[in-house]
């Protein structure tokens, strides 16, 4: 792909992603105040965050794989249950992932 084509892709896709963000802020408030809309948006983060956790832990492209990320997630869950600070949770998960990689 030529340099010009790459720049077109980078700038075009960036503009598109920006407009998607702007669209969310620009819908009329009345739409948001509908009870079923409120219901949906209250639960969208749980569905999407859980999906991101699952996909980023267990997928590699279109394959499902088990590796150090799952061990890291288990350690992170344990740390969260013990009310560890956010940054400690991340450091423990990263260290676990690295350890599994070195041992494996």
């Amino acid at each position: 792909m030529s340099d010009g084509a790459l720049w077109t892709l980078v700038l075009g896709a960036s503009l598109g992603c920006y407009l998607l963000k702007l669209a969310g802020l620009s819908v009329p408030a009345a739409w948001v105040e509908q009870p079923w809309v409120a219901r949906v948006v209250d639960f969208v983060p749980a569905a999407l965050l859980a999906a991101l956790v699952a996909v980023q832990t267990l997928s590699s492209g279109q394959d499902l794989v088990v590796d150090g990320r799952l061990a890291g997630l288990a350690v992170a869950a344990l740390a969260l249950a013990l009310r560890a600070p956010f940054i400690v949770v991340l450091v423990l998960a990263g260290a676990t992932g690295a350890l599994v990689h070195v041992l494996g």
Binding site: M1, D3, A5, L6, W7, L9, V10, G12, A13, S14, G16, C17, Y18, L20, K21, L22, A23, G24, L25, S26, V27, A29, E33, P35, V37, A38, R39, V40, V41, F43, V44, P45, A46, A47, L48, L49, A50, A51, L52, V53, A54, V55, Q56, L58, S59, L64, R69, A71, G72, L73, A76, L80, P85, I87, L90, A93, G94, G97, A98, V100
Partner: protein
């Protein structure tokens, strides 16, 4: 607003910026590997500024996908931010065209999660702005580091980064699943449903699409409560 709550928000915003910044190194490296130069990688972090879309774009390019497929996957993942924007309007109430245009650029996973997790509305604004600033600065700085230093990033550092990101998302999800968050049992059901849907679809759809599809799990939350309906 209580100082302790504000301090906690600022601390979490910086912690999240550092965590995401770590992954910015990986993005810069992935962009370089896909054939982007350092300016193109930086332009993506400055202008697109939505990590999953950025990874999708360079991932498709790196795998030999077309520009159309690369842009399409980035935009599909970007629709998530539209949903986030709808959620943020009542919390942030951006007034005027300029403020709305500026606010839009920072509507991403991390700022939304921090804003909706804040216990009250003024704190939600602080959470959004602090997280946006922290993530924006560190994500862009580390993108450059990654793009320039991709050859130096060893496999072990990559494995650590790979484990940090799902842990960060789990840490964001966690408080929603427990008291005092409203209806934690229903949140847990929806979260489990979202994870199952995403994993089940992973082998069959382009990378990233399964995350959006997981929104259908919101149906598990059921109808709005009668009291909320009566209020409309």
């Amino acid at each position: 607003m209580p100082d302790a709550a504000r301090t906690a928000v600022l601390r979490d915003a910086i912690g999240l910026g550092v965590a995401v910044g770590l992954y910015g190194v990986a993005f810069g490296a992935a962009a370089a590997a896909a054939g982007l130069d350092v300016w193109q990688a930086l332009a993506m972090s400055l202008l697109m500024f939505t990590g999953a879309s950025q990874f999708a774009l360079v991932g498709v390019l790196g795998a030999g996908g077309s520009a159309l497929a690369a842009a399409g996957s980035a935009l599909l993942l970007g629709t998530r931010n539209t949903v986030y924007g709808v959620r943020l309007v009542p919390l942030l109430r951006p007034r005027g065209v300029l403020r709305r245009l500026g606010t839009a650029q920072w509507v991403i996973d991390e700022t939304t999660a921090m804003a909706v997790a804040a216990p009250e509305r003024r704190l939600a604004r602080v959470a959004f702005l602090a997280t946006g600033a922290s993530v924006y600065v560190l994500w862009n700085a580390t993108t450059v580091v990654g793009a320039l230093g991709s050859a130096a990033l060893g496999e072990t550092a990559q494995a650590a980064l790979d484990a940090v990101v799902p842990a960060a998302f789990l840490a964001l999800l966690w408080p929603r699943l427990r008291r005092p968050f409203a209806e934690p049992a229903v949140q847990r059901r929806v979260a489990l449903g979202g994870a199952v849907v995403a994993l089940a679809l992973t082998p069959f759809v382009p990378a990233g699409v399964q995350v959006i599809a997981a929104v259908v799990a919101v149906a598990l939350a059921g109808r709005p409560r009668p009291r909320a309906e009566a209020a409309s």
